[in-house]
Amino acid sequence: MESNKQKVSNGYLVTEQDSTGQTRILYADNGACMITGFDLDTLLAADPTQVINHLPAVQVTLDSNHVLWVLNTESHTDSEANHIPEPDNTELLRQNAVLEAALLEAEETNKAKSRFLSNMSHDIRTPMNAIVGMASIGLSHIDEKSRVQDCLNKIRTASSHLMSLVNDVLDMSRIDSDRMTLSEEEFSLADLIHDISVIVRPQAAQKNQNLQIDIGMIHEECLLGDPLRLRQILVNIIGNAVKYTQAGGEIQVRFAQKSAPDFKSEQLVSPSAQHSETADKVWLDFQCEDNGMGMSPEFLQRIFVPFERVQNAATSKIEGTGLGMSIVKNLVDRMQGEIIVKSEEGVGSCFSVELPFTIAPQNQKPLALPHGASILIADSRTAQAEQMAAYLQDGGLIPIHMESGMKAVTWLTEAQYENHMPCALLLGQDLTDMPVLDLAAHIRQLAGREFPILLVSEEDWTQLEYRATKAGVNAFVPCPLFKSKLLTTLSELTYSGHNSDDTYTNRNRDLGGYRLLLVEDIELNQEIVVELLSVTGIQVEVADNGADAVNKFLNSPEGYYDLIFMDIQMPVMNGYEATKQIRKLNRADAANVWIVAMTANAFVEDIRLAREAGMNEHISKPVDPDCLQEILYRQLT
């Protein structure tokens, strides 16, 4: 200790006076700790007057509230030299400048955080106002069911907005504290892009924007990576484009892939080095361009700084925390990708993202397609029809394209007369002369029940399902169109008959014959889930904790429960432990019963732990009714 003190020449302290006149130590360096003999925490909590008063020190006023104290060790440790030595001014000034810069930075951060708090309180208050207001309106019109329903819908919208705010903040905090981890799991790029399209299209449609999603060259659809975080990146960027583009504006989204060698050759890396490193990699190339309000060059510099928002976003009442882009940038960096933003105020913005992914091992069976057979495409959108035709040609089929329903029906009548019917009809989004489902209904009659009719559409299937199946459509292929989806669906239809056993057609089945065990300790949550499940008709039994669940399972006949929904954090026994015990039971259904984890802790670690405990899948709280039903129908029908 002593020797340490000997080695230190100066120590530095910064004190700050608040608005009430109270002074506290804001900053202290190692030197100050050594000179005073306190550790840093004690020093920061100490009364500055008590610490500084009996020490020789030089006082430098930094601003009206802050003072820099330079403590001298010699005077304190060397009783013989009982005077304040002349400070080395050069060093002092240098350190002073460093401290000033540090202070400025701290103040900037403080300001940004204050701004954030102010924004957040506004952003939180807005949906909260809606929730409180709508709840009051609902209560005052409690007899008017439709009015109450309207209020509840608005409350739900406001709540989900609030939830996304909280999620953003949590994500940012995870990033800040370096707790963000990425998963490495297999996912389908086609499914992911379709999911994104289903999320963002209605938002764009609400603003009457033309959102176009184009798919370029895709080498590999099955990838390894973190689909959740990838979706977060893409939804954030496209969602921002929708938010910051005026009603009726244009948003163009493009997806493509570069195989790793292509990409690396552009980067001028030596071929020998690239091969081993990149043979199983592919780069996803994503671009989102809009003609929205754009950004100033000044803002563009700070776009990835947390809590920053475009100046006029607030005035135009666009909701947001200013965290989205910062999260995106962090995620892209962690994925070892790159993000480039170009923008011009009043003209629009263009976000380009490149991300590397590992190609998932190929384990798909070869598709059984009627090679050499003709297939009729009825679609007035030339670009989409050309894409379909190219994919079909890759599958060994001969595409015939018609733009109108009248031409399609003429061609099919002739084909039937001449006995060269195509293997299927692919219906696109639009026809020049009639709605596609009108054509489907007639072709179903003309060509008979066995003739496969596929609908390729960017609309949400759940919205179309009733009308489409009534018109005679056998299967649905979502847009943006992927070759694998198209050919797989076609293969299923043309070779194994009409597969009615898909998830799209099984909704609305009564699940009255099935039994579900809900393991949840909080009564209100039990009530909510039971209410959400009641529409399906499924019989629900409730266990109050993990131990209760194990007992209930143990005391039931084999196969009694078809599904278990398991909370994680519960008293007596948690969900992980309960699942482990159920899986260990010596009975046939213990290994097979489908167990779904329900938890608010939707971190990668939680998911991993759930899987390790023997749970089959995971849903996060608050429970999404659609998600709940999707699991039920998928597993039980």
């Binding site: 439709s146 009248m406 029906v409 009548t413 002739e414 007369y417 002369d433 709605p435 007639h442 009659q445």
Partner: protein
Amino acid sequence: MQPYQEEYIANMKEIAGLTARKKAGNLTFEAFESEYLQSREQLELKIKRNMKLLRDQLFPALDHLLETTPEILKELQDFAGKLLHGQSTTDSGLFCLIHQALLNLARLTKDKNSIIRELYWLGIGRHNQCNKVMGLEFALIENYISAMRLCFMESAAYLKYYDEIEDLETRGYILRSRANISLGQFKNPSEKIRLVKQTLQILQDKDYQEKAPELPWDRYIYMTHQQMAASISYSKTAPMTPEDIADVMESVYLIYQRRLQEALLKNEMPPIRPAFNYYAIEYYCGLSNLQELLSKIEHLMDSADLFDFSTDNMYALISLPAFYCQFLQQYPERIPERKEYIASLYQRILDYMDAFPETSENDTLFFYLRQLAHTFVETENSISYGDFLRKIMMRFTPETYVHSYMVGNAAAVFSQIIISEEPNYFDDMAHIKTIQDLKEKQQIISDYAMKCGLYHDVGKLSFIDLYSQTARQWLEEEYELAQLHTIAGESFLDTRPSTHSYADAALGHHSWYDGSHGYPDTYKRLEHPNRQMVDIIGLMDWMENVTGIRRLYTGVEKTYDEAVEEAVALEGRRFSPLLTTRLRDREVAEQIRQALADGQREAYHQLYLEEKHSMKKEHS
């Protein structure tokens, strides 16, 4: 035909008589009302009998078509032929059902000639349905048009195998189907004109003609020219290209010349319809201006004879004014100088309608009047649009008028009960909120309820044969079609100042309170400040429908007490709890029952007075 088929046809004719307006003659009001009520009873018996005939005989026959004999098939075709006869629509729904079944059979047996024939007839049936929905927004009716066009198109596709098809009649069906592809509305008039032009080229091709000289080629070509000439009406929705106008012009001249020669030979007046087309095409070509065109139309209308009930004269008196008003709607600056003329024009039309004899031309008269209702120009000098619609309802669909009046009367009584308990109940309507005096408020609400009731079903004018002439319960397809009466009603009422405030009642009276069911989707209850009144109209309409004559078409049949019970059971879902709560009160329920009964009697009384008024007009 089989006996059940003969009986069904005979019943249909009787039903047409039973649902038609009754002549007052020298009858007292009581006798007049009694005649209506007796007709209702007979109608009920006839409809029930028809349902039994179809259930016991026709439907089993259609189910077993594969095992049936050629004779029975021929009888079915004959029966269907009687169901849709030229201009006079009888039962196009059943017509389509039978031909759809016959088409399915033909497809199963791969009988090409039958497929072509049945496609043609099914297309004709669908065309009839398209005529019903004419005037509605294209997007709403596009599926009916597509269904028709696809039938004709598939049949016409066999043109490629014309030489291989030996049956002459089948060749005729192919050519007629080809010509009919261009029937109905198109998104783009150029598409229609292109198709008609192609058809003309095919029909004029000597190669086709020589292979089937027995076919009436001249008639086919002339009718196709007529279609081309009729395309002129499309110019109102989208501009035509110069090429389109040239094509239409050629057909218009050809038809005009031919009709003129025919008239000269018969020593008759030059025909009016081709003359109008002739003038119109001159206008579209720039050979005359709008002022000249309007003057020429006025001349044609003025030259029509008020006592001539022929189709051509009817066209001049009613259909031509519809086109005339359409031009005025497009160029409203031409209206002020013609206010008096327009008023006299409508008056003449109403006089003509009153004097019109009960003949088979009644359908055409109604068709033209409906056309006029779509293009009606409302001025302060002329009859109000609401009164015009009311007169058409009374004349052509008296039972709908009676129903509407009953609903209006019951709604007025119910709204009075509510407002006496809750004076602010209707205050979502801004103009009601400002009224301080309760008596004045009550009066205004009562009038408004009455009018909403009176006009809520005005859209049924587009589906008159479904609502007033159907001889049986509706088929599923017809039920879907009938639902459009809400949108049709709104489109009638919304655009004219005198009826605008009743449009929501027409649109929303079949929607459910909680939005979970009902129709149309376009009615969003909470967006309408007059939703409380629409709720009342919806409830009263339902009560009258399930207890009145309409129950026969939908199959939902209840006594009044059962209806009250059911309405209460549907509280918060179909009906507003604020209404059903009151309906629980037996006294209120009884007042509503009485209001419906009083409304019925008053409606018949008004019909009686209207008939007396018509008689006077007829005699004078």
